[in-house]
């Protein structure tokens, strides 16, 4: 008995020792295995992963399908996060960990300065892949914003966001307002004019119908018309002292005071629903917003929405880049893809189908006469081209999005918690300091 018992103990000891060894081996070997993503399949097909935010529209406009037809050896897989802030967080986590990155990553214009200043070593220099000339075909500031001081090109521009004003022609008519685009453009040639017309609308509109969606969107549109916004050329913060920022703040606060805001936070389900209910009659409209309105208001909104040149007739709000992380195993193929996606013809298609305004100069020339039947045949090509022509080459700061978020929240406080504007302004400053102060 004793011998059998001892033998069993020994066997168990041995067994558990083997188990521990196996576990240790399991831990160490995992570091040496290759990551599975983006490998070449057996049939020689290359899978390109594209990770984007919001609605770039490549898939919706059928561009992937077309590219795959042109390049039978390429398969494109797209993942998409609706909210850019969440997308950015996830991207930063992946960049820090060095895993899980796609072959092509989208980058918003408000983040490009951060990438150029802090993460130039994490992305491939597109000039080394021969995309320098492609970038030169874009409006000059687009390329230079994505270029490091030592000349590396980190992203290839897709669209830009020239601003106009979208409005509900049917509601305007009911309230006795003019619906002629030129007449409107003249009436709201300044932001004060825009507020004055709003008061006129509010006096006659149905209860519950307001002038515009939120103070934050008016603020973003007005700030977007400035060359220097939150940070100056040296990267010094000026958001606290800049008269332009203060002017935009004052416009937004008056908007709330006069009861012209529907007080709906952007990109929320409630905001989305309001596109079809008529809760707001105007909306600050960067070109890409046209696609968003079509998506939210649907076919029922066709012919109700219209576009006119907005206050100041210019400004830039949004727009994006495509970049290739260093970790991509198919940088060459990814470069071919983004070159094609941002080329003249494809940018024209995207403008016609989704309203994303081209950054490509030739494409800009080609879309000048485009009219959009959805927006009551508004000459969107002409309106946005004029806005783009007057657009300043914006100075971009690494923390632009952080500041935007702080002001958005502060205006939300003014609207929804009846916080005094001065207190809300102070909250915005505190929030920026908390977020940026290392």
């Amino acid at each position: 008995m004793a011998t059998a018992g001892a033998a069993r103990t020994r066997a168990v000891t041995l067994g558990s020792a083997v188990l521990v060894l196996a576990l240790a081996a399991g831990c160490s070997s995992s570091t040496s295995t290759k990551s599975a993503g983006g490998d070449t399949a057996k049939d020689g097909k290359v899978t390109l992963n594209v990770d984007l935010f919001g609605t770039f529209g490549f898939k919706e406009a059928g561009l992937y399908a077309e590219y795959q037809k042109l390049h039978p050896n390429i398969e494109i897989k797209q993942t998409d996060t609706q909210d850019e802030a969440q997308y950015w967080q996830a991207l930063q986590t992946k960049l820090a960990g060095g895993g899980g990155l796609a072959d092509v990553q989208g980058i918003e214009v408000g983040r490009i300065a951060s990438v150029v200043q802090k993460q130039a070593d994490k992305f491939t220099d597109l000039k080394s892949l021969g995309l320098g000339p492609a970038s030169d075909e874009l409006v000059p500031w687009k390329g230079s914003a994505a270029t490091t001081p030592d000349g590396k090109l980190l992203g290839l521009g897709t669209d830009i966001g020239p601003e106009a004003m979208c409005f509900r022609a049917d509601l305007f008519k009911q309230a006795g307002l003019p619906t002629d685009r030129d007449q409107l453009a003249q009436k709201w040639s300044t932001w004060d004019g825009y507020l004055a017309l709003g008061k006129q609308y509010a006096a006659k509109a149905k209860a519950g119908n307001t002038w515009t969606d939120s103070a934050a969107s008016v603020f973003a549109a007005e700030v977007g018309q400035q060359r220097v916004r939150y940070f100056d050329e040296q990267g010094k913060p000026v958001y606290e002292t800049s008269p332009a920022v203060k002017a935009a703040w004052n416009t937004s606060v008056s908007l709330v005071k006069d009861g012209l805001s529907a007080e709906l936070p952007e990109w929320t389900p409630e905001w989305n629903k309001a596109f079809s209910t008529g809760k707001f009659a105007t909306l600050s409209c960067p070109a890409w917003m046209g696609g968003y309105i079509k998506g939210q208001a649907g076919d029922a909104g066709k012919g109700k929405w219209d576009v006119a040149p907005g206050p100041g007739k210019t400004g830039n709000w949004g727009g994006s880049y495509l970049a290739i992380p260093r970790t991509s195993k198919h940088a060459k193929e990814a470069a071919d893809l983004i070159k094609w996606l941002t080329a003249e013809e494809q940018q024209v298609t995207l403008f016609k189908k989704l309203g994303s305004f081209p950054s490509n100069k030739a494409a800009q020339a080609a879309i000048k006469d485009v009219k959009d039947p959805y927006f009551s045949d508004a000459p969107i090509g002409q309106i946005f081209s004029e806005a783009a022509a007057a657009m300043p080459a914006q100075v971009l700061g690494a923390d632009d999005q952080v500041v935007t978020k702080a002001f958005t929240d502060a205006l939300g406080e003014v609207e929804r918690t009846k916080t005094a504007p001065d207190a809300a302004w102070k909250h915005a400053m505190d929030n920026v300091r908390n977020a940026t102060g290392g």
Binding site: A2, A6, T9, R10, V12, T13, S16, A17, L19, V20, L23, A24, C27, D83, A85, Q86, Q89, Q92, T93, L95, A96, S114, K118, Q119, L264, P265, T268, P269, E270, K273, A274, K279, V402, K405, D409, A410, G412, E413, E415, R416, T417, T419, H427, D430, N434, A435, T436, G438
Partner: protein, 332 residues
Amino acid sequence: MALSTSAPNRGPDPAPPPSPAPAPARPRPAAGLRAPLFRWDQKAAPYAFVAPFFAFFAAFGLFPLLYTAYVSLHRVELQTSDRMEWLGLRNYTRLIEDPFFWNALRNTFTIGVLSTVPQLLMALGLAHLLNYRLRGRTFFRVAMLMPYATSVAAATLVFAQLFGRDYGLINWLLGTVGISPVDWQANTVASQIGVSTVVTWRWTGYNALIYLAGMQSIPGELYESAAMDGASRWQQFLHVTVPGLRPTILFTVVVSTIGATQLFGEPLLYEGSAAGGVSHQYQTLGLYMYEQGWGFFHLGRAAAIAWVMFLLIVVLVAVNAAIARRRSRTEG
């Protein structure tokens, strides 16, 4: 804690582990090397058995804990995480003068109270009802657990819709009885009630089942004799059920307190932002830690908040344990 109070008389009872038979006492012919090897076997085998647990604990429990402490003493940014700059206790002292931290602590406390108290009271009442013979008892018991089985994300997203300001069901219902719409997102109290509702909805059934199990271990004779003495159902509940459930109640209080301190998913998904509302009005400690670490990319600061939360929970549990020990002493 719950266990120690249920058996108060056991006390510190270091029952010696069953000692292995003294192996060398056995005569073994031709021993040579085998006897010491055998002894080594006997001594080492138990360690080998428990080794996997400790290996895992060290890798996934202890190391992260210590490394977090190490990170919390540095300035570390996610975007440049290879650069660490020694700060000493700056990340901790910073928290003392950080209004956002105190706001988060306050919110964690108020949301904790708003969710835990109604939740446990309702659970107690529901368990009491389910303890009676009633038709379809099993169905009700299973139905009780359904919210617990629902994912946080799904539950929160549905509640966020219900609590919508302009097109939400709850405001519509309030409107039908003439109450003007409530801003369930921006208003401080309303938003905290909104978040607490999700927590309460998810956990009431779970706690009710735990109470039910506790109730069923209370002998039926106690109820019989109470009934014979003329006690009403309410009196039975107060004087038989509640005292009999004391250890179970303590357990649920401890678990709910820890859960409330770590509350994260519900406030994050309520409006989908780590800020916890436009004025951070429902930002909890867990959410603030997340915002610092993964919203602002200040990993050092986030690590410091994580450690403060850890210490806070240790203190809360210690206080609970002290109360429990005191009570069991006064009773025993």
